[in-house]
C-alpha cells in the first residue's frame, strides 16, 4: 500500500465528501475518486458506500481509517526523527520535550534544572503546545518526550511513568460568592450564573458552541477570570501561578490528575532514558 493512496482515503473518510477532500488535498476530484477506488481494488475490500448524495464508511473502512492514521503517523515520525537525528549529529539541537503550555510549570522547572545538573546532559528543547497535543507530537516524531496529564491526555501506544498525582481546584474571581467556600463539588460549578466554562479551540482551530468565552492561553484565561467572566478547573499545581485577584477552591469530587512522563515505546535514545530517570528521581 502506498502512502499517497492512504492519505487520500483518510481525507475522504474524514470529510465523507470527495469534493471537499480533494480541495483539502489540493488536487482535483476525479483523480481522488480514481485513487480511492484503486485502493479498494488493491485491497479487495469496499471501504466506502457511495450514493450520489452521501458517502459513508463501511466497517472495513472504519478500521482502515483508524489503522491508517497510526501508520501515517508512524511514517511521519520516521521522517521527523531522521531529520532530527541528522541535526543532532551535526551538533545543533537536543531532544524535544513537549508539554501543555502553562501546565506543571514548577515540576518542569525542577526537571530541567535537575537534568542540566547531570554530567553529560543533552540539551533539551521545550515545546509548549496546546491541550492534548503532546500525544500526537510524540506519535508523529515531533517530540522525543512529553509530560502529559491523565485522564485528559491519551497515552495509548506510549510508554509512561507516573510523576505526581494531585487533586483539582476551581479558579474563581476573588470577589465571587463561591470563592468564600472551603470546598466545592463539580455540581456546584455546572451552571453558575454569569460564570460559564471557557471554550478551548479544537485541534482544527474551531471553537465548540456554548455560552462561555473563547480562550487560547492561560494569560487570557486568568484575565477573563479576574474580570468575572469565567471559571476554570485545573490541577492543584496551578496555584503557584495565580495572582491575588483570583481564588483557588478545592473541588472534592473532581477526578485526580496524574502527571506522567511519556515517550515512544520503541525509543532507543539514551538521552530520553536519562531524562526519564531524572524525572523519576524528583
Amino acid at each position: 500500500m502506498d502512502t499517497r493512496e492512504l492519505r487520500y482515503f483518510v481525507a475522504v473518510a474524514d470529510e465523507l465528501h470527495f469534493g471537499r477532500a480533494a480541495q483539502r488535498l489540493g488536487i482535483a476530484q476525479p483523480p481522488l475518486s480514481r485513487a480511492v477506488s484503486q485502493l479498494e481494488r488493491r485491497l479487495g475490500v469496499v471501504l466506502l458506500n457511495r450514493t450520489s448524495r452521501a458517502v459513508t464508511l463501511t466497517d472495513a473502512g472504519a478500521v482502515l481509517l483508524h489503522e491508517g492514521r497510526m501508520a501515517l503517523d508512524a511514517m511521519e515520525a520516521a521522517e521527523q526523527r531522521t531529520r532530527r537525528a541528522a541535526a543532532a549529529s551535526a551538533g545543533d539541537g537536543g531532544i524535544v520535550l513537549a508539554i501543555k503550555a502553562g501546565a506543571s510549570a514548577e515540576l518542569l522547572a525542577k526537571l530541567l534544572h535537575a537534568h542540566a545538573a547531570e554530567p553529560g546532559a543533552v540539551p533539551v528543547d521545550v515545546l509548549l503546545c496546546g491541550p492534548a497535543q503532546q500525544g500526537p507530537l510524540l506519535r508523529t516524531g515531533s517530540a522525543d518526550v512529553a509530560v502529559l496529564h491523565l485522564p485528559f491526555d491519551d497515552t495509548t501506544g506510549l510508554d509512561t511513568d507516573e510523576l505526581v498525582t494531585e487533586g483539582q481546584v476551581v479558579v474563581l474571581p476573588s470577589g465571587h460568592p463561591l470563592a468564600a467556600h472551603r470546598a466545592l463539588r463539580l455540581g456546584d460549578l455546572a451552571d453558575v450564573p454569569g460564570l460559564p466554562h471557557p471554550r478551548w479551540p479544537r485541534p482544527d482551530g474551531s471553537y465548540p458552541d456554548g455560552p462561555g468565552p473563547e480562550v487560547r492561553d492561560h494569560t487570557q484565561l486568568l484575565q477573563l477570570i479576574s474580570l468575572g467572566r469565567t471559571l476554570f478547573v485545573a490541577p492543584d499545581s496551578v496555584r503557584a501561578q495565580l495572582r491575588d485577584d483570583v481564588v483557588a477552591v478545592p473541588v472534592v469530587d473532581a477526578p485526580l490528575v496524574t502527571t506522567v512522563i511519556a515517550w515512544p515505546p520503541h525509543s532507543r535514545s539514551l538521552a530520553v532514558a536519562a531524562l526519564v530517570r531524572t524525572a523519576l528521581r524528583l
Copy 2:
C-alpha cells in the same frame, strides 16, 4: 515520504550492499541507487556512507532504519486488519490469536474453552508460530492478540496483562545422571558432555553455529532428548506434555517466565477486549 523509497532504503540498510538489496527487491541496481539518493535529497539527510567497496549507515540512517521498520509494520498492519475486518463483516473468520507452538498448551486450552462458553463469543483462529514471532505478527496486523513469554519475547509497543509466572525446568533423557538430581543450576547445564543445547532457526531460516542439533519443533526436540542428544530448558508448564522417556528437573536459578496476553495498543476491537477479560479471569 513514500513506502516504496522506505522499503528500498530498509533493504539496502539491511544488506549494506546495493546489488544484493536490488536482487532481494526484484529490481535492477541502478533504479535502487537512484531511489535511495532521491530519498536522501528529499529528507535533506545523508543516510549511507558509500565507497566503492563498502556501504555503512550514518547515525541518521540507523534512526531511519529503526523508525522506518516500525512505520512499514504499521502500514502492513493497516492493510492486514482492513482485509480481516472485511472478511469478518462478511461473516467468515474471527479474531486471530498467535502463540508459540507448543507453549502454554494447557493455559491456551482453558482460555479457548472459557472463551467459547461466553455468550456471543467471536470465533478465535489460533495461529501457532515460531519462537519470538508473536510480537511481529501483532505489529504487522497478522494477529489481533497474542500470548507471549517474558523475558524471551519483546513486548515494546504492545499493551499486555500478566497471566501467570512460573519457574523453569530442564528436560533431560530419563536415564541421564543429571536426571537424578532434585534441582539444578544453569551452570550445571552449560557444558554437559554429550548434551549440547539445541539450535533453533533464526527468523531468516538459517541456523547459528554450534555443536547442538538443529531443531524445528517440539516433537523433534523431545525425540532428540529421549535419544540422549540434547537437553532443553523451558517453563514448568511443559511438564504436562512430557512422556516418561524424559525427565524434568527444576532449574533454581533460571529466570522466572511470565506468560502475558498482548494486543496492539490502539486496538478498538470489542472481541479482543472480551478475550483478554476472559484470560484475566483464569
